[in-house]
C-alpha cells in the first residue's frame, strides 16, 4: 500500500520540530542518528580532503602544520566516534526492533538520551575549533605525554577528552538497551537460532561495547584529572599505562565498527543471491569468537613500546588467530553467492566491495601482526593503508550496503540503481586509488602524521595518486547525495512497498515506512526466515492469482 495521505490538520512546522526533538520512537531516533552521523561523515571527509591537498605534492602550504595535526586528529576521531560507530548504531536502532518483531526498544527514553549525548559529544569534540581556535591535535590515540598539559596545553584537548567520555556513556547506555531489547522483546517463536544475523552481530557488538568502553572512560577521566587536578596517573609513571588502557578499548572498537557491517552483509548477500546464508550457525559462532578474541589482541599496537617479548609473542599469536573467524565469514559470503541467482543491485555491489577490499585489510593485518614486520612498518603509511582497508573498505562499504538496502524501508522510496552503481564504481576506484599507494609509501618509509615531505624522497607520485583518489571518493559521495535528494527527498523514486527486495526477515513484513507501532499484530516466528512463510501464506490466500513470484 502506498503512503496513505489523509489530509488531517497539518501539524505546524514548530510542533513538527518539537516532535522530533522530544521523540522516543526508535525509528525517529534512528533517522536522527543516520542524518547527524552522515553530517559528521561529511565534516570528517572534508578534513580528509584538506589533508590530501596538503600532501598532494612535496612542500605544499595549504595549512599550517599545527592545523594539520588538528585536522588528522579530528578526521580520525570524527570518522570513528561520530560516524562509523553511531551510524551502525543508528541502523541498528531503526532495524533491530523491526527485525525481532518488537514495538520499540526496551528503554525508549534511555535510547533518546543515548542519541542526544552523542550529539552533544560531537559538538563538544568539534568545539575545540571554536573555543580558543585549537582542537585536539594529539591524534586519535591521544598518547601520553603528547596529550598532557605540557605538550597539549589547549582547552580543545580537554573538551575533546570530555566529549569522548560523553560518547562512552552514550554507547554504554545504548549497549545495555540493545542487549535488554533483544533478550526480552523478541516476537513469540524467535528462538536463539531464529534471531536474524544482523541482530546477532549487534548482540556481540553491544557486549563488546559494554565490556570495553568503561576501561577507556576510566583512562579518559584519569587523563582529564592529570591535566586539570594535578593527579599523577600518567605524568610521572610509565607511558605504557595509557597505551594499555587505550588499546584495551580501541582494539575491540575495530570489531565494534566492523561486526555490524558484517551483519549487514550477511543480510544483504542472501537476499540478492536468492539463497539462505551459507552456514548460519557458523556465522553466529564466528561473530561471537571475533567478539571474544577481539579482547586478546590489543598489545599488537604496542610492539615497539617495549613490552615483554614473551607477552608480545602471545599477542602476535592471538592477532593471527582472529583472522580465522573472519576468514570463515569471507568464505560463507562467497559460498552464499555461489550458484545463487545473483542480482547485481547496488546493495550487493557494496557488499562485493566490502569483501574484496576488507580481505586486503585483513591480510595486511596478519602480515603486520608479525612482530619483526610490525617493527618495520609501525607508524608508517603502511598502517594507514591497512586500517583504511579495514574501516573504509570494510565498515563504510558495509554502511552504504545497509543504506541502499534499508533506505527504501525507512523512507518508502527506492533510490535510483543506476546512480547507485555510479556511486559504487567511483567509490571503489577512488578508494583503491587513495589507499593502495599508501602501502608503497609505507614500505618506502613515509611516516604517518607528517604535514609535508621533501621532494627528493620519491613519495610524490603515490601521494598525488592518493589525492586524486580522495577526490574521486568525494565525488562518488556527492552522487549518493544527489540520488538521495532527487529520488527520496524529491519523491521521484519508485514507491518501495513493504518488501521491495523480497527479504527474509520481519522488517519487511510491515509497511515502508513502518507505522509508529511497527506491527499491527505481533508477528509469530516459525523459522529462521519468517518472511518466506509469510509470503507463502499471502500467496496461498490469493491462490487464484499467478504463482510466479520470482523467488523460491
Amino acid at each position: 500500500m502506498a503512503s496513505v495521505s489523509i489530509p488531517v490538520a497539518k501539524p505546524g512546522l514548530l510542533s513538527e520540530i518539537a516532535g522530533w526533538l522530544t521523540t522516543v520512537d526508535h525509528k525517529k531516533i534512528g533517522v536522527m542518528y543516520l542524518v547527524s552521523t552522515f553530517f559528521f561523515f561529511l565534516l570528517s571527509g572534508i578534513f580528509a580532503l584538506i589533508i590530501r591537498l596538503q600532501l598532494m605534492a612535496p612542500g605544499m602550504k595549504i595549512v599550517d602544520q599545527n592545523v594539520y595535526n588538528e585536522l588528522f586528529t579530528m578526521h580520525g576521531t570524527g570518522m570513528i566516534f561520530l560516524f562509523i560507530i553511531p551510524m551502525l548504531v543508528g541502523l541498528g536502532n531503526y532495524i533491530i526492533p523491526l527485525q525481532i518483531g518488537a514495538r520499540d526498544m526496551a528503554f525508549p527514553r534511555i535510547n533518546a538520551l543515548s542519541f542526544w549525548l552523542l550529539i552533544f559529544a560531537g559538538i563538544v569534540m568539534e568545539g575545540g575549533f571554536l573555543i580558543g581556535g585549537t582542537a585536539s591535535s594529539a591524534a586519535w590515540t591521544a598518547y601520553v605525554p603528547l596529550s598532557t598539559k605540557q605538550f597539549s596545553p589547549q582547552s580543545g584537548m580537554d573538551i575533546w577528552l570530555f566529549g569522548v567520555v560523553l560518547l562512552g556513556i552514550s554507547s554504554t547506555l545504548g549497549a545495555v538497551n540493545f542487549l535488554v531489547t533483544i533478550y526480552t522483546m523478541r516476537a513469540p517463536g524467535m528462538t536463539m537460532w531464529r534471531i536474524p544475523i544482523f541482530t546477532w552481530t549487534m548482540i556481540v557488538t553491544a557486549g563488546m561495547v559494554l565490556l570495553a568502553t568503561p576501561v577507556l572512560t576510566a583512562a579518559l577521566i584519569m587523563l582529564i584529572t592529570d591535566r586539570n587536578f594535578s593527579t599523577q596517573f600518567f605524568t610521572t609513571s610509565n607511558p605504557r599505562l595509557w597505551q594499555h588502557m587505550f588499546w584495551f578499548y580501541s582494539h575491540p572498537a575495530v570489531y565494534i565498527m566492523v561486526l555490524p557491517a558484517m551483519g549487514i552483509l550477511s543480510e544483504v548477500i542472501p537476499v540478492f543471491s536468492r539463497k539462505p546464508l551459507f552456514g548460519f550457525k557458523v556465522m553466529v559462532l564466528s561473530s561471537i569468537l571475533i567478539g571474544v578474541l577481539g579482547f586478546t589482541t590489543w598489545v599488537h599496537h604496542m610492539f615497539v613500546s617495549g613490552v615483554d617479548p614473551l607477552v608480545e609473542r602471545f599477542f602476535m599469536f592471538t592477532t593471527m588467530v582472529i583472522a580465522v573467524p573472519t576468514g570463515v565469514k569471507m568464505f560463507s559470503w562467497i559460498a552464499t553467492m555461489w550458484k545463487g541467482s545473483v542480482s547485481l543491485k547496488t546493495p550487493l555491489l557494496m557488499c562485493i566491495g566490502f569483501i574484496s577490499t576488507f580481505v586486503i585489510g585483513g591480510i595486511t593485518g596478519v602480515i603486520q601482526g608479525a612482530i619483526p614486520i610490525d617493527m618495520q612498518v609501525h607508524n608508517t603509511y603502511w598502517v594507514v593503508a591497512h586500517f583504511h582497508y579495514v574501516l573504509f573498505g570494510g565498515s563504510v562499504f558495509g554502511i552504504f550496503a545497509g543504506l541502499y538496502f534499508y533506505l527504501p524501508k525507512i523512507t518508502g522510496r527506492m533510490l535510483d540503481d543506476k546512480l547507485g552503481k555510479w556511486h559504487f564504481a567511483l567509490m571503489f576506484i577512488g578508494f583503491n586509488l587513495t589507499f593502495f599507494p599508501m602501502h608503497i609509501l609505507g614500505l618506502e618509509g613515509m611516516p604517518r602524521r607528517i604535514a609535508t615531505y621533501a621532494a627528493d624522497r620519491g613519495w610524490d607520485i603515490p601521494n598525488l595518486i592518493a589525492t586524486i583518489g580522495a577526490f574521486t571518493i568525494a565525488f562518488s559521495v556527492l552522487i549518493f547525495m544527489i540520488n538521495f535528494a532527487i529520488y527520496i527527498l524529491g519523491r521521484k523514486g519508485e514507491v518501495a512497498g513493504n518488501d521491495p527486495w523480497e527479504g527474509a526477515t520481519l522488517e519487511w513484513a510491515t509497511t515502508s515506512p513502518p507505522a509508529v507501532y511497527n506491527f499491527a499484530r505481533t508477528p509469530v516466528v516459525e523459522s529462521d526466515r519468517p518472511m518466506i512463510e509469510l509470503r507463502a501464506k499471502a500467496a496461498g490466500a490469493k491462490s487464484d492469482s499467478k504463482t510466479s513470484g520470482g523467488s523460491h
Binding site: A106, F107, T172, A175, V176, N177, L179, V180, Y183, T184, M185, L210, L211, A212, T213, P214, V215, T217, A218, A219, M222, T225, D226, F229, S230, T231, Q232, F233, F234, T235, T236, S237, N238, R240, L241, H244, M245, F248
Partner: protein
Amino acid sequence: MTNSKPNTGLIGAAVFIVSESMFFIGLFLAYFFLRGDTTIQIPSDQPVHPSLALPLINTLILAVSVGAMAYAERGIAANKQRNLVIGVTVAAVLGLVFMLVQTVEFSRFISVGFSPSSSAFGSTFFALLIFHVLRVFAGVLFMVIVLVRALMGQFTQQRRAAVQACTLYWCFIAAVWVVVFLVLYTS
C-alpha cells in the same frame, strides 16, 4: 506484565552492573600495572600498608547496610510496606555514614602528605577509593528515590523491580568495596 516474563528494568540494571564492574577492573589493572612496575619507586613516606581501623569499621557498616537492604527487599516480596521503609532508611543512613568515614579517612591520608597528586601510586590508590565512594553516593541517591516511592505506596509484591535493582546495585557496591579494601589495605 505477568510474573513469568523477567522485568526489563531489572535485567537492564544487571547488564549495567557488568559495565560498572569493567570500570573497576580497568582501575585495578592500572593499579597493579603501576605496582608491578619496578622502575617506579613508591616514595618511602607513603603508607603502603595504612591503618586498618577505619576501613574495617566501614566494611562492617556496609555489611549491615546490605543486610538492611535485603531485609527491605524480602519485606516487599512478602508485601510488608513497613519492612521496606525501615530497611531502605537504615541502609541509606548507613551508606551516608560510610561516606562520612571515608571523608575522615581521606583527610587523615592528606594530613600525612599522601594525596592523589603525590605520586602515580597515590593517584591510583585514591582513584579506587573515590570512584567507589561516588558509587556509594549514587547508591544512596537510588535508595532515596526508592524510599520516596515506597512512602507514596508505589511498590507491591508484584511491582518491586526498582527495589530489586537497588538491592542488586548495593550488593555490587559492597562487593567492590571488599575487593578495594583487600587490595589497597592488605595486599
